[in-house]
Symmetry: C2
Subunit: 461 residues, 2 copies
Amino acid sequence: MALSGFAQTEDSLLIRRLADTILTDGRTYGNLHLLTKTVGPRLSGSAGYYKAEKWGQQVLQEASADKVWLQECMVPHWVRGGKDSASWVTTTVGKGGPRSKIGSYMEISGLDILALGNSVGTGPKGIVAPVVQVRNFDDLEKHKDDLKGKIVFYNYPFNPLFVETFQAYGDAVRYRGAGASRAAKYGAVGVIVRSMSSSIDNVPHTGALMYNDSFPKIPAAAVGLRDADKLAEILERKGDGSESVDLFLRTNAHMLPDTIAHNVIGELKGTEFPDQYITVGGHLDSWDPAEGAMDDGAGCVQSIEVLRALKAIGYHPRHTIRVVLFANEENGGRGGRKYAEAAKAAGEQHLLGLESDNGGFTPRGFTLSLSEDKLAAIQPWVKLLKSYGVYELEQGGGGSDVNPMGRQLGAVVGELRPDSQRYFEYHHARSDVLENVNKRELEMGAVNMAALIYLVDKYGL
Amino acid sequence: MALSGFAQTEDSLLIRRLADTILTDGRTYGNLHLLTKTVGPRLSGSAGYYKAEKWGQQVLQEASADKVWLQECMVPHWVRGGKDSASWVTTTVGKGGPRSKIGSYMEISGLDILALGNSVGTGPKGIVAPVVQVRNFDDLEKHKDDLKGKIVFYNYPFNPLFVETFQAYGDAVRYRGAGASRAAKYGAVGVIVRSMSSSIDNVPHTGALMYNDSFPKIPAAAVGLRDADKLAEILERKGDGSESVDLFLRTNAHMLPDTIAHNVIGELKGTEFPDQYITVGGHLDSWDPAEGAMDDGAGCVQSIEVLRALKAIGYHPRHTIRVVLFANEENGGRGGRKYAEAAKAAGEQHLLGLESDNGGFTPRGFTLSLSEDKLAAIQPWVKLLKSYGVYELEQGGGGSDVNPMGRQLGAVVGELRPDSQRYFEYHHARSDVLENVNKRELEMGAVNMAALIYLVDKYGL
């Protein structure tokens, strides 16, 4: 879209006003403080999630939404089942080897584990089994005759050579998602995965697995990077006389029946095309070990701030702007699908579904599901965004909550792409707390989201 | 510089090899760990500084520099003088006002202060004086007849509307630099400044002041943002019956005679133009309250990593590449001036002086002191850097350590421009510790610096 000089100046001034209110009177960080410190963890079906729904309604009202409501959907209800999960490795050293001069003995080494989301538990007594380390699925296949009754340890590293850490995650996450069933296929009784993380600490990172119903459901848990290295070291020195390495694993996780939850929705009514929608959102649920500050409290408060800022500067959108706080992104994706289905059933026309679910870090760009021609046409917008840190409008999809709008409604979908270097230090781990989100970086993301929503509202896509 | 397709591929592969070694076998974070946790604070003249010199020589040797040496220079030697500095505000409420129903009484409220660098102390007994709050220098002029015997409190905010926080710093830092002498001109006996910081905590931030020799040298200290707000609130409620607000201030700072320190220098000898130099550096000294992880341990370890990575991939530079760890940036700038003077005296030709002194955050660009034409000619390099986060080669100067090379030697100077959102949370404060530097972000800065140095070595400027 070639903008005239006049329009550019007008847009630039309006975006500056959005930035000014977000950077001075903004509610992003304050709202995130409330969500993380008074609501806290909020996995689907947990008491926290229902508190979060109330929080969402309240802050959307405070942000001066014209209308705020709940949209019901059924969600899975997985529970970790108590805090007494545990794991340790027992190395029994026999009499024959070089390390056994003092006779047969046992070494016990604890592991800091975290059950994977959606996984089954071991039962209260736990399980004990020999451990087999595999580096990847090819390696698993090589060991397939040796897995019966064993615990499989997927020790696949998070590859530091990917500059974009989401690529390293995409590369590694299949071991979390599919590792349990692929090991169960060969008779394994449990799975331990190396966390998908670039961190240098030992915090384990959870996240959803998907069981393949053709095979037994076996328990699965993550270990942090140092424990993964320790376990590997123990297994690799077996040759020196250790006779067996057994792993004890106890997790209490289990699925309860599906339960009711809600997407929380707020909107600013459009003046010209009230029946055409531009949505912006993040997901309201979060994993249970922490506060979900980054994943995805950040995206929720940024989306709400877009509405607040537009209203605060007195902007009257041409289209209806909707903020959607999606239910159940983490272990089911039911909220995103529900929203798109309901919109389709109502015959609603959606121009754009924009998502923020990549952390509240300093913004760098947006992806949008546009053709090359249409993407080229909006490149002049980059001039307007660049002063606020966004220098790229790229071809790409949205996140998992807005992609159903693309498929079901033909909407353009897209997402904020903040800097990714720190994301997988905190992702799905107990370290995902407010203290690891920077106020200014969070606000700069909201500024760019508000600016993009304004431009789409004004010029279309 | 229009690169041929072949050259681009070759450059892209070489830069990928630099990135690979930095992201997998790199020493940036390990070296920073050593510097921060075993050397620690290292202000000019302190024992820490001499330990840092040894660290610098050792890590440059480990990085396989062809030659490592020290370059002597005289530096100021300011000391904080003990940890028993203190400050509190005494509000004496008289009998007349509405708040004095219970009679005359006193409220005492402590302040967390940090003496400004280069400042004089109050003497062991401290000083007590009424406080006058001023918002800026204009406000100071309005109060000029009321300052005799008083302590001036500069309560100038760090403006959140600047997207680039360095602009907010440039806007506010004059109150730290010149505030004491401008208040002393009107008879003030001490100065308190609001810290130049975007933080939301109460940590005070130090930094150098410059006395104007025409006026008495009076003590000066910084307070954190919450204490600044508290002090303002106390002063602003004076009207309700408080009869006076006195501030007690005790600092023990003083200047000792100049002492000897050194720039630490390492180089890779050029194969084609050994007498032409490309330098890259950061400053080795740091403020005393913390570890100087970000300011400027980050720049030191990134610069050393450039040399290590070039050597590690077997690259033989055409020009001599020098790493300079500058002495005394923080409270004198003597190391940077010394290096340029010595190079001029030796008739050395310097192509580029590149600096990293803006924090080890995710990289966004470089500034270079090039003409518009020359800058336009190297824009194709951006294609090569963008995959690693740098999308801008902009016109601009270097930092204070390399700018003398521009003035004295006619070298092009420039600096790495990382994302600035977090910098002034930690700058010159006790929070500038390793834990606030992210390993990946630090490494990505080194990758881009190494890539730029390679491109300059290959194509010139």
